[in-house]
């Protein structure tokens, strides 16, 4: 198995608070790696380092062998998509949202990504504000998939969803992984980690403990 990301002695310090403390680990390609740990353990920060929404105070992060600090952040973010904790649909319809991600795609492409995210093409003209939490989060997943990312970062994506929608999103994500996308999933729910993880990384106090 090849490494998607290599983290080498990565630390993040904000003021006097150490958020990540000398983390050295590898995130494998083509599998779901789940980051678990209590609130404040540094899970989200570690995730945000991978697409350069944040940068480390010290240490190096490599993506497919290249130091991410040397990569164009905009190209990196199209290769490493992200789904956030709360569904963050922009104003307008689902189609409008997909057009923000890629205005050049045709209708068939939009329908394909919606299907991969577990939504039918009838959702294209639905207003984002009218969708349920689960539908909105799957629309966000579709939006991220539009760039054909190699890696998908999922930051507690089911924290605001009910059980049914949680299971649906997990199933959609597993399908995405089977199609060759690497997923890094953050959760504090151990049972969810056991359900979906190919590999689990446990963080506590900013350190990887196993």
């Amino acid at each position: 198995m090849t490494a998607a990301f290599d983290l080498d002695h990565v630390s993040v310090v904000a003021g006097v608070t150490t958020i990540l403390d000398d983390v050295t680990t590898t995130i494998e390609s083509g599998v779901i790696t789940v980051l678990v740990g209590p609130s404040g353990a540094g899970k989200t920060t570690l995730l945000r380092l991978l697409n350069r929404l944040e940068v480390p105070t010290s240490g190096t992060i490599r993506f497919r062998g290249d130091d991410v600090a040397t990569l164009d952040p905009l190209r990196l973010r199209r290769r490493v998509g992200m789904v956030f904790q709360r569904p963050t649909l922009f104003a307008g319809t689902v189609r409008d949202n997909l057009q923000v991600a890629d205005p050049t795609c045709d209708e068939a492409r939009y329908c394909t990504v919606l299907e991969r995210a577990g939504l039918s093409s009838s959702f294209l003209d639905r207003d984002g504000g009218e969708l349920s939490g689960g539908e909105a989060q799957r629309a966000c997943l579709a939006r991220s998939l539009l760039a054909d990312p190699e890696v998908l970062l999922m930051d507690e994506p089911t924290s605001s969803l009910d059980d049914v929608n949680t299971k649906l999103l997990e199933a959609n994500t597993c399908d995405v992984v089977r199609a060759g996308v690497t997923v890094v999933w953050v959760t504090h729910d151990i049972t969810q980690a056991e359900r979906i993880a190919d590999r689990t990384l446990r963080l506590e106090g900013g350190r990887v403990v196993d």
Partner: protein, 270 residues
């Protein structure tokens, strides 16, 4: 400020005299009485504001007397304008405390708009370039621009702080910060410029604007007063738009890093 314009264009001078000025304080006394009667607790603020305004205007009036003296070089008037831009920039910082080090940007924005607006005025000979026109016109433009700058700066920070998840979602899709911030900055700039546009739309229907009122009081033909007022109004609108555009671009750039990350924003109570 309007008084100087009046003197340039008026057919006769108007002097309300010190007694007249003192009589106008009756209105302040009424407001103070109302404040006491209604327990608004505003009487000290009203008295302080009225006293301070009078003191400031007397000092400014004395200094202006020197600056706009036709015997003095017009360069003094431009120095006065520079001082006004600097004071406006410092005032913006005081009113938008949540945005650190905004003074240079406010100086640039207000200065640029004053330069463009006054450039149009004097290059196209809308008004003659004399100290009597430079100072009051600059004052009107800088005053309005300063207010718009404060609103624009505060709204940009508030919009981007409130909509941070959406902005970061756009950045995570690979959008550059200029695109990711655009819908929110556009909204903030609209908020800052709209009052000036609304004021321009209803001008004359509800209240007569200051310069025009002053000119009519001084005996100028209302049609001539309207022409002057219209020119001033367009230039004020132009300067407000220029300032907010400079502030919008400059401030937003500072809220993102060169590698397209959003900096942490701290909002304070309005």
């Amino acid at each position: 400020m309007v008084a100087s314009l009046i003197e340039v264009y008026a057919r006769g001078a108007t002097d309300i005299g010190w007694v007249g000025l003192a009589a106008s304080l009756i209105l302040i006394a009424i407001v103070v009485a109302l404040s006491i009667a209604q327990r608004l607790d505003l009487e000290r603020s009203i008295v302080w504001a009225a006293t301070r305004a009078m003191a400031q205007l007397l000092v400014v009036g004395a200094a202006l007397g020197f600056v706009i003296d036709p015997k003095q070089p017009v360069a003094y008037a431009w120095l006065w304008v520079l001082l006004m831009v600097a004071v406006a920039a410092v005032t913006v910082q005081g009113r938008a405390r949540e945005i650190p080090h905004i003074v240079p940007l406010a100086f640039l924005g207000t200065g640029a708009s004053a330069l463009v607006s006054l450039g149009v005025i004097f290059v196209f000979h809308i008004f003659p370039m004399e100290a009597r026109t430079v100072v009051p016109l600059a004052g009107m433009m800088i005053g309005n621009s300063m207010a718009a700058t404060v609103v624009a700066a505060r709204r940009i920070v508030a919009e981007l702080a409130d909509k941070r998840p959406e902005v970061e979602a756009r950045l995570a899709l690979g959008q550059p910060w200029q695109h990711a911030s655009r819908p929110y900055v556009r909204e903030a700039i609209r908020t800052a410029v709209l009052p000036q546009i609304e004021q321009t739309k209803i001008v004359g229907l509800i209240a007569l604007p200051g310069a025009m009122t002053g000119l009519i009081l001084a005996g100028v033909d209302p049609v001539d007063a309207v022409k002057i007022q219209a020119a001033v109004m367009y230039l004020v609108l132009g300067s407000v738009a220029t300032t907010t555009a400079v502030i919008g671009l400059g401030l937003t750039r500072r809220l993102f890093t060169p590698d397209h990350r959003m900096v942490r924003l701290v909002r304070t109570a309005p």
